[in-house]
Symmetry: C2
Subunit: 200 residues, 2 copies
């Protein structure tokens, strides 16, 4: 049994948001904690030759409906984000900077960013909004503003994205349990079963 599971996501991924609301309970059931890894699908899609789900004819419309239906099924507050998709580089950089100082605060920040975008319809691609969200979690706004322009912080996110691609990650959300990959909000039940049984 691993002590942690790795949870990869893009803040702009609705299924990533839905899974973020459930992964901690799934992990806790097995006595694990969650390592959060925000990534940037824009870079990953270049490698995996993909495009945002909602840009495809027929599949796009279905996906928007399925996101809402999945949210209702799990009683997760959700409103279709607008604009969509958005760049999440500031939110992701802020996370990695925060996480080095206080991982619990960094986790609260993740949930706050998701809530801002999927519940309160705030455009999280806006750096100023990201700083505002962080400040409600007790983060010093001036320090964060500086960090977001810091080359070391930028390179931290770049390394995280490179490492994700290195592990074979192509979509959001992806959960890694030991070496086993599970892609999609709809694989959380399997993640739970894998953790409970050690695999099949």
């Amino acid at each position: 049994m691993p002590a942690t599971v790795d949870f990869y996501f893009d803040f702009s991924s609705p299924y990533g948001y839905l899974a973020s609301q459930r992964i901690e309970a799934v992990a806790k059931e097995a006595g694990c904690t969650v390592n959060w890894h925000p990534i940037l699908l824009g870079f990953i899609f270049k490698v995996s030759k993909q495009a945002p789900l909602t840009t495809f004819p027929l599949k796009g419309e279905y996906s928007l409906m399925d996101m809402e239906r999945s949210a209702r099924l799990h009683n997760i507050p959700y409103s279709k984000p607008e604009p969509f998709p958005v760049g999440t580089v500031s939110a992701a950089r802020a996370f990695y900077w925060l996480n080095d100082q206080d991982s619990e605060m960094a986790t609260r920040f993740i949930h706050s960013v998701f809530k801002a975008y999927y519940v309160d319809s705030i455009d999280i691609s806006d750096k100023a909004k990201v700083i505002e969200i962080a400040s409600t979690n007790g983060v010093d706004s001036n320090k964060l503003a500086e960090a977001l322009d810091d080359d070391k912080v930028k390179s931290k996110l770049k390394t995280a994205v490179d490492n994700a691609i290195e592990r074979g990650i192509f979509g959001s959300p992806t959960v890694m349990v030991d070496g086993e990959m599970f892609w999609g909000h709809d694989r959380l039940e399997q993640v739970g079963q894998w953790l409970a049984t050690g695999g099949w």
Copy 2:
């Protein structure tokens, strides 16, 4: 509660095969039967601007692994089909011709074609193999061979594919419950819940 659910699939779709092994039990639980609709993803992908899952870097390798892992989880016999993907026009035409005469025999034929491809590694794109599979289900080989070249049978399949696109179907498997669409083997649990509760 509907009396039937519509099950759309391509014989060349591994997740279509997995779902074909489970959909009758899901429907039966709710007192429903299954209407089978073989379709051709090749045509549908032209409209929905998609390509076979396994052709994408990273996602392709994951998918091949996930198909096997999903089969193991549900105790469904499965070996990676080779060649893959294959053209399934003969198998689909044979189904529609058979279904007009004897829907139970046509259902048995579906399961036989899937077994041939995913268990016995038979190339189901080969018209002669399709005729052989049908003959083991008691179908007259000469009549089927004639039917596969019959313009009326060809147009039956074309109409089925056109109707599927008209309903918004873009992938395999897709289950329609009244007007509600569920795409993917991993939505069968939701199909069951929808049938049991009338939706959420």
